[in-house]
């Protein structure tokens, strides 16, 4: 099994979720994160003082998938999250050794 982590622009979340749904991914965990990267933050004003807010709000998706589905999932995220502008984000793939469904105790791929 693989863990696919994708850091994307928050307003793309709905699109990505739907695209994944279409290819049969029904489990996703999403976290609000702040990204530092090439895409720069913005300036805020406070009584005339300008200060930079470096972080950019991003959404992090985590999906555990069977090995064979991983490529398809990655491709789907790539397509649906892309705007072509800096800050579109990254996808990382990590190995997963085991998965368990708490409700049933199922293990491995059937647990996902």
């Amino acid at each position: 099994m693989k863990k696919i982590e994708a850091i994307i622009k928050p307003f793309k979340l709905d699109d990505v979720k739907e695209a994944l749904n279409k290819i049969g991914v029904h489990g996703i965990t999403v976290t609000e994160v702040k990204g530092f990267g090439r895409q720069k933050g913005h300036t805020e004003l406070y009584r005339g003082a300008e200060y930079r807010v470096d972080f950019v709000p991003k959404a992090k998706l985590e999906i555990i998938s069977p090995d064979e589905l991983a490529a398809n999932i990655i491709e789907t995220i790539e397509k649906s999250a892309k705007t072509g502008n800096i800050g579109d984000g990254k996808i990382f793939v990590l190995p997963v050794e085991e998965a368990i469904r708490i409700r049933t105790g199922e293990k491995g791929e059937s647990a996902i």
Binding site: L45, R47, G48, A49, E50, Y51
Partner: protein
Amino acid sequence: MNLNMLKNFKMPLSPLTFIWSLIGGLSLVLFSWVSPVFADGSKVPAFSAGNTAWVLASTALVLIMTPGLGFYYGGMVRRKNVLNTISLSFITICTVSVIWILWGYSLAFGPDAFGGIIGNFKYLGLFAMKEVQHSRYDGTIPSYIYVMFQLMFAIITVALVSGSLVERIKFSSWVVFTIVWLTLVYAPIAQAVWGLGGLFQKMGALDFAGGTVVHIDSGVAGLAGALVLGKRKGYMKENIVQPNQLGYTILGGALLWFGWFGFNAGSALEASPLATSAFLVTNTATAAAALGWMIAEWIRSGKPTTLGMVSGAVAGLVAITPASGFVNPIASIIIGFVAGVICYSMVVYVKPKLGYDDALDAFNVHAIGGAWGALATGLFADPLINSAGRGLFYGNPGQMWVQFLTVITVAAYSFTMSYIIFKVIDKVMGLRVDKETESIGLDITQHDEAGYNF
């Protein structure tokens, strides 16, 4: 509404009523003459329910300003200090309210004890005062409501000082400060400016609703406090400006604006034409100052900020305060607009250069805005609005001199005394929290509470 309506309330007239009404009318008239002369020999007018109604309402309005100030300040600080910042205002309402009854009012507004700068002990505990007495300051309202109206001014003046000190002052030290400063700084200045026989009163200084008494002394005290406390950790080095919820600041600004009608128009102590004039110029100057600050910021930084609009409004409220019973509508636009621009300039040009950490700009907005307002009163006071005031533009250059002298004296007195008070508190019990406490935030460390549990 249609003027015709005014004529609709005819009421039946029985024959007996004529006699009754005459008796009633006369007894009403007689009632008016309870205590025919004040101590100074001037006639005591009748109680007026209308005036009393307005001063009662005004006093409630001024009360809500201080929680408003708490929210105005509280929204601007970092999340970890939001409750502490609001509570500095809240606790001030409590301590000052009690002290005022015990000795504060007597020192500030009792008969002069010495040189026109401090009242005597006649009204300690208010024992010697009854609610059915006529106020010495306006005979048409009961004395108790005058005590309360003035209390609300005392409260907010003390609370204003906290704006310079937030995010690092010890809560317990603040509580002590409120009591000491009220007694040693606020009370004498109130007596000198507003007391019957007060020093500046006799010189002819014009301060309708407290430019010197409320804003200059508190702003200057804030500066003294900021100097004694030192800068917040990271000030000017890292970004410590993360207003946690500007909605609080706007809410606070709105409550200040709302309550300030009681502050300024209530200072007429009557529901009179003068009160309506004060109301009008207060609103106009405030709006103009918000525009002034916003436009200045828009030009300099390229964006109009909501914090700028609200800050400008507060600057306008401050500046019009001393002038509110003296100037005409067009003058109020000028006074307000200039106040917005001046206070914005203080904050962006002067403050960073001088390098003091007047955290929420109590000095930059209140002392500077208040000083401008006091001087502007000397310029714009229009005898057609109030024959008691005639400014430079209406042929009386001497007024400027009196205004200037008052501003300087009050500022010097407040700065010196406040600096000493802060220093003494620092020695005795410590004024500032330690570094780690400051990092963790004052909500948890001073109160064991968190502003938000989301």
